[in-house]
Symmetry: C2
Subunit: 271 residues, 2 copies
């Protein structure tokens, strides 16, 4: 059975979408068609949304799930006219919070960021730039400024993990790809040795590595299962021998890899 | 008044953190100390969390806000012993959803990703790689594969916006920085002309641009207010003249810039 789910917001829709996806992922057997509608901040847009919801009801022949974080009551009311199952996130939690905190909420739509947000923006840009500058072992001389250095074979997930840590948490994450030459060494490459305490390893199932590499360079030695198996075995042995903590990324999303590393390496979220 | 807020999860903590930050941002006058505790998936970890919460109560002399997305009832019960204001996100919404959908939720902790998630991972890595490869006008020959090409002066927020779109939505976003030579032209640079329909402009307040550039290259002509003002005026004139849609990034977070562009340029979220 197909079911449409609308995540509706007067802002970016990130909160509604994150919560909605998280809740619906608890229902395995149902196929959801998810529609995120951000910036619904006028009655005119709300009317258009109502039409869209009614069209979905017509098509699905079952009422949709509507999860919203809209603050303005008139806009909500306009959408609530539709025959959907409406989950009102803010109303559910804001009232008890107001009571607990003993103040009224400001309920401000699409707040622009003040000084705190400006600093957050700068921290974030700085750490994203750091991740790009220090991607793929490009500039090992900046490693003393890094919060963490991810190490692993090519295509084991280092770059997206670094960028996610930078973007979401303002962490300065560098990464260093182990080449065949590096792995022929007894021990760590010279450029990594002084930064031993910052190293964190990524490993991956050789089959998956081969599939990922195959998309980059089809039918190459680089993408062959033999080569991938050899590299993964070698790097895992090195991680154990050098006592570098590591994580197997095979079944994890980028979010999970990043948050697990932050948690296990006890990194401090900067933003 | 200081108040501690705990966002607790048996997974990454992203849902709890996103919702928690969003709810608390509605309360302007209160200073929150926010603590995200991911991967609380054993009773042992729950006991440690309870100690941490009790320590916060001792210090703040007021009960904390606890927002959790923990599935396991024993683990929740252990944390619920503390004297906090507990907001149970899943229990609040899962029961009504079960009734609506006519099925029981699977309530699975830290689900590993199946084939769908694997494809999502690949799409995402591919788009992140695309953003890095096509950062800063590096490789204009790939522009025919781009979903969007952000244009603007140096440091106007192009790179983080591209990476955010790639990471969160699997959108292939390239960016092209306008140099002084480009802006001396009548019209668009040759490499952009064929891709006119994909262009989206970023502009920024000259004061903020000067502040950001100052951090990169202090006291340079590049970072001077005169130079920044001149560049911003020139690029905005160009956007209008060439009918390139554009957004002023000054008061927006990276999330907002990215989601607004996606919404206004009607890009399709790929993941």
């Amino acid at each position: 059975m197909k079911r449409t789910a609308f995540f509706i917001s007067d802002g970016t829709g990130i909160t509604a979408g994150t919560l909605g996806n998280s809740l619906l992922s608890q229902f395995d057997g149902i196929e959801f068609k998810k529609v995120t509608l951000p910036y619904i901040d006028t009655l005119e847009k709300a009317h258009a949304v109502a039409l869209q919801i009614n069209a979905a009801i017509e098509e699905d022949q079952v009422r949709p799930i509507i999860l919203d974080t809209i603050v303005n009551e008139d806009i909500r009311a306009c959408i609530a006219q539709c025959n959907g199952m409406m989950i009102d996130v803010f109303a559910t939690f804001i009232k008890p919070l107001e009571k607990e905190l003993g103040v009224h909420s400001t309920y401000t739509v699409g707040k622009s960021h003040g000084i705190q947000e400006m600093n957050r923006y700068k921290d974030r840009i700085e750490s994203v730039n750091f991740a790009i500058d220090n991607d793929d072992g490009a500039r090992t001389q900046q490693y003393d400024r890094a919060d963490i250095i991810l190490v692993g074979v090519s295509r084991s997930g280092k770059t997206p993990s670094c960028l996610y840590m930078a973007m979401q948490y303002g962490i300065r994450a560098a990464n260093y790809p182990f080449t065949e030459e590096d792995m022929a060494l007894q021990g760590l490459p010279d450029s990594l040795e002084p930064h031993r305490a910052k190293l964190y390893g990524l490993t991956i199932d050789p089959f998956q590595l081969a599939a990922i590499r195959h998309e980059r360079r089809a039918n190459s030695r680089y993408a062959s299962l033999d080569q991938c198996t050899l590299e993964v075995r070698t790097i895992e042995r090195l991680f154990r021998q050098e006592q570098i903590p590591y994580i197997n990324t095979t079944t994890f999303s980028v979010e999970e890899i990043a948050t697990r590393i932050i948690s296990e390496a006890r990194l401090v979220r900067q933003i």
